[in-house]
């Protein structure tokens, strides 16, 4: 049995400690905003936060979450409403298929947490390891800058 906080709630799971955090979050804990993209830490679709730092959940074991605080896309919501950053993504219509966006938003949130007023070049650098295939990059950049404004 392993315990951790998920989006502020205490969770105890009987999944093995070497289980992949991604699958525990999606399949056991129904965190839809966590996506399998590559399983190789190359694309960022599976990004979540552990104690405020972004990790690639596809290459993270459940044991790494033990006793710590895990945040997923749903966990960014405030009182059941989209957070400022999520709303900025909605306002900018910063999606085509949207599959990569949970990872994008988690990474962007971590950026804003450590640098509330990033430049465009800061945003590009922070998101450079997150892949988007639809070509929504320019809107994503605008959304992050809008949330920072």
């Amino acid at each position: 049995m392993l315990s951790f906080k998920l989006n502020g709630r205490d969770i105890t799971t009987d999944a093995p400690s070497d289980a992949t955090l991604l699958w525990v979050l999606t399949d056991d804990l129904k965190q839809h905003g966590v996506k399998f993209g590559c399983g190789l830490s190359q694309c960022g679709a599976c990004d979540v936060m552990i104690d405020g730092a972004v990790v690639r959940s596809c290459q993270t074991k459940l044991s790494s979450a033990g006793g710590r605080s895990v945040t997923t896309l749903a966990g960014l919501m405030e009182n059941g409403k989209a957070s400022k950053l999520q709303q900025a993504f909605i306002d900018e219509q910063a999606a085509q298929c949207g599959y990569c966006l949970s990872g994008m938003i988690m990474t962007a949130q971590a950026l804003l947490d450590r640098n509330p007023t990033p430049t465009e070049s800061d945003v590009r650098a922070a998101l450079n390891g997150n892949l988007c295939r639809c070509g929504t990059h320019t809107r994503i950049i605008r959304a992050v800058l809008r949330a920072a404004a």
């Binding site: 289980a19 993209g37 679709a45 749903a74 919501m77 999606a95 949970s102």
Partner: protein, 751 residues
């Protein structure tokens, strides 16, 4: 919380008392099919719009529900292109209801009108036009009912959000007119449509209906679904395409933790387990346990262009225009262009969920673009009747054509058939997606032109070599990857080029420029050394890269500005307008030259009859290493009547960025024995730091047909890059991708 497996069906049944265009009307209104007096289709041909002709019953498209909602059923599916929202806008506009009343169900083979494949930028021209006519016709019928009920002439009535007001002020709502008995009415194709100048919903940037859930962790993708009792399926692929499984001991795999079932059929291997981790471990072990016969006879990516030119092919003259004027060209210019295999490269590996019910029906949630034909192919693979397979479209990661979505649906079904009753969820590994998807074919294009002393083209000749752009399931099990490995195997049908001059390898090969003599020939190679199929824009990306690079070269040879040279031969007003608009937006005329900076422009009318697009861009080349940085892009697009400007711009921005990625970076690498592009490290794509600023100008054409936009930007973008490189450093590149090594090599060769 477990999601209901049958999500769409629950949704539709939730609204109790829905009525299928339930009208009390004189029987003569629907007793016979009323013939449309004249053509209304996109092509201007006779009869109904294409998709309405295939599904003429209005009840296939619309249900006016007694609770004040409207259900819109469509066969075109949401792939991230925003068609769900745009088509709904058209419906709300023509039906006369607020957008928020619409419930949309798309791509369920049991419930929705069969609109074929969501491909070829046809969601708007085919799908939205059908919905436009169906909705306008339904509104007319409702007005007729109101006229009877209120005893007032229909002509005097106005509709606002489903409330009809007669000339005398009396009102009745759509929902009041709904009564208890369903009656189906066939579309006439001749409804009174709203005047485009009165549009209040069409032409507005309605926020996309699917976006909020995607931004907040809602349940919207197949990957998010967890039906009660779900189990996890994985397959183990052979070492390469033509490998055969000689033997395997399944015993140790069956004993692995969590394994429910191991499936072997011929060379097809799969496993079903209780958790995803267990399924992945077991499938990895399964792949290693097999003793395979592995032929090492693949061509290798370096040799593919020579192979294409020498392989048996069938020449087909798709366009010929004999020059009537006399005169011998002063000079002949020739060039050969090459484009490697590129992949769809979805960020999410393809997925599906399948369940064999007690009624013998295999229900599959799939992100396929072709739910009907894929369902039929799967039925044949499973050797069951077509009505025993139901596909329900559920959103997945963007596919950009025929990727692994259909194979995932087929594989989930093969595994679900082995564990009746259990919902089997399958998602491929990254390597399975990268190495097995049907790529966009490598192509070679040769262009030759005879020009006069002023550099004007007299004779133009294009030859195109390509393998297939169309191996979609199409109701044939042999096009499903795993079906080819079963015992006995389903044989893949020999592919044919899509008929017509603009539909496959020849898409956009014919120049729209008005040259005196033109001949364009495709050389279709039916053999497929590498698995290929439809990928966003089909042959248009390489063909426009070639055509618009060549035009640029001719302009330079003639010492004429490339924009001016194009306009010299382009008479169509809409074509000229997009070129000039893109040039204006870019600042073409006032452009200040700087060393190693360059500008390029290119134009195409997609498929030579759909959206008109021009792309101008500025790039910078770093001479030391040949690196190309695209700095800014200006796009002008005329897609006919604009339904959702923001959505249209979004599509165009995406097309530009994706095409830049193909054009600058992408090439599927393969050896004699394996596909080497197995992940994002071995197949890199454009990243945030490489993406330019993009401005899009839309030219709206109120009242004109919707032309579709999704694939229109790919080709012009590719050529604009090559033209800008020439402008910057004076070297012309003919082989994609335009990598730093190639730029550097060409610069060295020029010295």
């Amino acid at each position: 919380m477990n999601a209901p497996f049958d999500m769409n069906r629950r949704q539709i049944l939730r609204t109790t008392g829905f009525l299928t265009l339930t009208f009390a009307m004189p029987s003569n209104l629907f007793a016979q099919e009323v013939q449309s007096p004249e053509g209304v289709g996109i092509s201007g041909g006779p009869g109904l719009p294409t998709d309405l002709k295939k599904n003429p019953m209005l009840s296939s498209w619309l249900r006016i529900n007694s609770d004040g909602t409207v259900t819109l059923l469509i066969g075109k599916v949401e792939l991230g292109q925003g068609n769900r929202t745009a088509i709904a806008q058209v419906c709300a506009e023509e039906l006369g209801v607020n957008f928020s009343r619409l419930q949309i169900i798309a791509g369920d083979t049991k419930l929705c009108p069969d609109e074929g494949v969501t491909s070829g930028s046809t969601s708007m021209p085919d799908g939205a036009t059908a919905v436009q006519y169906a909705s306008a016709e339904a509104r007319g019928i409702l007005l007729g009912l109101a006229a009877t009920k209120l005893g007032q002439p229909a002509e005097t009535m106005k509709v606002k959000d489903g409330t009809i007001t007669a000339g005398n002020g009396k009102t009745v709502t759509y929902w009041d007119l709904v009564v208890g008995k369903a009656l189906d009415v066939k579309a006439t194709g001749n409804p009174k449509r709203e005047n485009p100048s009165d549009y209040t919903i069409v032409g507005t940037s309605m926020p996309r209906v699917d976006i909020p859930a995607k931004m907040t962790g809602g349940e919207i993708f197949i990957q998010d679904m967890h039906p009660e009792g779900v189990v996890y399926g994985m397959v183990a692929r052979p070492p390469n395409y033509r490998s055969k499984l000689k033997s395997i001991d399944l015993g140790p795999i069956e004993k692995m933790p969590g394994v429910i079932k191991v499936v072997r059929n011929g060379s097809f291997l799969g496993v079903i387990a209780k958790t995803k981790d267990e399924a992945m471990a077991a499938s990895a072990a399964l792949g290693k346990a097999g003793k395979w016969d592995v032929p090492n006879d693949m061509i290798g990516n370096a040799a593919i262009y020579d192979w294409l030119l020498k392989a048996p092919s069938s020449p087909n003259v798709i366009h010929t225009q004999k020059r009537t004027s006399s005169g011998t060209p002063a000079k002949t210019v020739e060039a050969t262009y090459r484009r490697p295999y590129v992949m769809h490269g979805s960020i999410g590996a393809s997925a599906a969920i399948a369940q064999l019910g007690t009624d013998g029906v295999m229900t599959i949630h799939t992100h396929s673009q072709s739910v009907w034909q894929t369902a039929e192919a799967i039925a044949k693979m499973l050797k069951v009747d077509n009505d025993k397979v139901r596909c329900i479209h559920t959103q997945g990661s963007g596919c950009y054509g025929h990727n692994m979505a259909d194979d995932a649906a087929a594989d989930a079904a093969l595994l679900a058939a082995a564990v009746p009753g259990m919902p089997v969820k399958l998602q491929y590994t990254r390597a399975q997606e990268h190495q097995w998807e049907p790529y966009s074919s490598a192509m070679v294009i040769k262009i030759k032109a005879g020009v006069d002393n002023d550099g004007n083209v007299l004779d133009w000749e294009t030859d195109v070599w390509s393998t297939s752009h169309a191996t979609r399931p199409g109701g044939n099990a042999g096009n499903l990857l795993s079906a080819q490995y079963l015992d006995p195997p389903f044989k893949q049908p020999t592919p044919r080029d899509i008929p017509g001059p603009n539909f496959g390898s020849g898409r956009n090969a014919i120049p729209l420029y008005e040259f005196p003599g033109k001949i364009v020939t495709t050389h279709f190679v039916s053999e497929m050394p590498i698995r290929v199929s439809s990928t966003r824009s089909l042959g248009a990306h390489p063909n426009i890269f070639a055509l618009e690079s060549f035009i640029d070269e001719l302009a330079r040879n003639a010492n004429v500005d490339p924009l001016e040279y194009r306009l010299r031969f382009l008479k169509d007003e809409r074509a000229r307008a997009v070129l000039m608009k893109a040039a204006d937006l870019f600042g073409w005329s006032g452009y200040k030259r700087k060393p190693n900076y360059g500008r390029g422009i290119a134009f195409a009318r997609y498929k030579n009859y759909a959206a008109l697009t021009a792309v101008a861009m500025e790039i910078r080349v770093t001479p030391r290493n040949g690196q190309v940085q695209v700095l800014r892009v200006a796009v002008a697009d005329d897609s006919g009547q604009v339904v959702n400007p923001n959505g249209l711009a979004n599509q165009m921005e995406g097309a530009v960025i994706q095409s830049l990625s193909w054009t600058l970076k992408e090439e599927v690498k393969f050896s004699d024995s394996a596909i080497l592009s197995s992940d994002w490290a071995s197949y890199p794509i454009l990243t945030f730091q490489e993406v330019p600023k993009i401005d899009v100008a839309l030219i709206n054409q109120p009242g004109m047909p919707f032309l579709g936009t999704g694939e229109a930007g790919q080709g012009p973008t590719a050529a604009a890059v090559a033209n800008a490189i020439y402008d910057a450093v004076g070297v012309r590149l003919y082989t994609l991708p335009l990598t730093p090594d190639r730029v550097k090599e060409a610069m060295n060769a020029k010295k």
